[in-house]
């Protein structure tokens, strides 16, 4: 029992150390050898452009739900005019960055792990190493750069679509004054709110690339190993995003 606990602790510490080293080395490689522009553009297309549909869809319905819930809550206090503020602040400060990141985790984070994991088990990563090439330059850093650029942009799109989703329900369906919706929003939302949302998105992009690449790079044996790594990657990334969001919010508020 004590021995098993000791083994588990050693394995955990080793895993944490390896993950920390992976992040540091990735950041070092981004500065020293960021990879070719073509690789980065390919990843931008995969992580950013191809996530647009799911981001627009999620943002639209999130904004609509916020409009609906917000309207009935605010109506109790006769403050329906504040609906724009409630929707915008919820989205810009919190829901935009977090939901966009969770959507990208499910769509692109899992694919990153599976792609690198398959390359690991089919010895394609070893093949790069035997050619005296650093696999990080080809497989890891382009994904880091693309995720850190894509997430803030996707978050901005999420915010805008969400605000219009809330407008559609609040103004068009439930009769909130359209002038009040945007006027109150403009009055309440300050640059710091937008800035904190972007800081969050940027760091979530780093987390998605970090865990996605790390889990794939150290995937276990065979198809089962890759499947396990992919599941762990999605779960761990989602949990880290939510925990990190709490700490970041407490600092940025």
């Amino acid at each position: 029992m004590v021995q098993a606990l000791g083994h588990a602790t050693i394995a955990l510490v080793r895993d944490l150390g390896r993950a920390g080293w992976f992040l540091l080395y990735s950041c070092y490689m981004i500065v020293r050898r960021p990879g070719s522009l073509v690789h980065v553009l390919k990843q931008l297309r995969f992580i950013g452009t191809k996530s647009l549909f799911v981001i627009v869809l999620t943002a639209g319905f999130t904004g609509m739900v916020l409009g609906l819930q917000g309207y009935y809550t605010l109506a109790k206090f006769g403050s329906e005019g504040m609906l724009g503020t409630a929707v915008a602040l919820s989205l810009i400060r919190e829901l935009g960055p977090v939901l966009a990141a969770l959507m990208v985790t499910g769509r692109a984070g899992s694919a990153i792990t599976a792609e690198i994991g398959i390359m690991r088990i089919t010895e394609q990563i070893d093949a790069l190493e035997t050619m005296a090439l650093d696999p990080f330059k080809y497989l890891v850093t382009p994904k880091f750069i693309a995720a850190m650029i894509s997430l803030p942009l996707l978050c901005a799109i999420f915010d805008v679509i969400g605000i219009y989703g809330g407008w559609l329900v609040g103004v068009k369906l439930l009769g909130v004054n359209p002038g009040a919706y945007f006027y109150e929003m403009e009055k309440s939302v300050v640059w710091r709110d937008v800035y904190s949302g972007f800081v969050k998105s940027f760091s979530f992009g780093l987390i998605i690339a970090w865990i996605g690449c790390y889990k794939g790079y150290y995937a276990g044996h065979g198809a089962e190993g890759v499947a396990k790594a992919t599941t762990e990657s999605v779960v761990l990334t989602s949990v880290i995003i939510l925990v990190w969001d709490y700490f970041l919010t407490s600092v940025l508020l």
Partner: protein
């Protein structure tokens, strides 16, 4: 010349290499034979630093490759080419892109020069007009040939072959062996082949080393191995079920 001295390697408490000594002469074809699961591929990966020994030394042309910094290791790896057991072609790239990749990344050759070298490397291994195919559109034998073309395209000093004929029919096996022999005669590299192909390998390799229980049991010419009196080597060559080699 590659030299291994007193190399130990364990995985999860299980000893794979146990004080192994081996000298691989330059410019010759050396085959490493031995029962499955004895650590032949593990040994091969030590030669190029994909695995590091728990203890012992591995030297390539007199330079140790144990615990080197990545940049130093990469400098030594530039001497190597490797054909993996499962070929390890980049599956998102075409055949042309796979063979051209080392040239694009390691040289400053012009596009036209790269194209002509790739076409020439593919022709050397008997392949034509498959440049635009993806690896999953090729047969096992064709993949091995493309892997060989990729391994030789930079004209390395040393090429490692990890079971180059596993899973191929006897005719393609023979063709691959002849290809290795012909390419070796043409370029004069040092070749290390991990294989089970008895007796075919006797016609290909100039040196043979038998790995058993984590050590080199005997290292000599094909005739030395064929005429060995060691019971494990005799059993392995004859394929007999009786002897010191036990099926796990």
């Amino acid at each position: 010349m590659i030299t291994l001295r007193n190399v130990h390697k364990s995985f999860g408490g299980q000893k794979v290499l146990d004080g192994l000594d081996l000298d691989i002469p330059a410019g010759q074809i050396t085959a490493i034979i031995g029962p499955s699961g004895e650590g032949k591929s593990v040994l091969l990966k030590h030669l190029i630093g994909l695995l590091q020994p728990d203890s012992g030394t591995v030297e390539v042309d007199g330079e140790s490759i144990v615990d080197l910094r990545r940049s130093e290791l990469n400098r030594i790896r530039e001497k190597f080419g490797m054909l993996f057991q499962n070929v390890a072609l980049f599956d998102s790239m075409t055949v042309f892109e796979n063979v051209a990749f080392p040239l694009q990344e390691k040289t400053s050759l012009a596009k036209e020069e790269i194209r002509s070298r790739v076409v020439s490397a593919l022709e050397d291994v008997g392949l034509k007009n498959i440049e635009n195919k993806f690896p999953d559109e090729l047969s096992g034998g064709m993949k091995k040939r493309v892997g060989l073309a990729r391994a030789v395209v930079l004209k390395p000093k040393i090429i490692l072959f990890d079971e180059p004929t596993t899973g191929l029919d006897p005719i393609i096996k023979r063709a691959i062996h002849e290809l290795i022999r012909d390419t070796h005669a043409k370029f004069g590299f040092t070749a290390v082949i991990v294989t089970h192909e008895i007796p075919d390998i006797f016609d290909v390799a100039q040196n043979i080393a038998m790995l058993f229980r984590g050590r080199i049991l005997q290292h000599g010419t094909p005739d030395d191995i064929k005429n060995s009196s060691d019971p494990a080597i005799r059993q392995f060559i004859s394929g007999s079920l009786d002897g010191p080699i036990r099926m796990v």
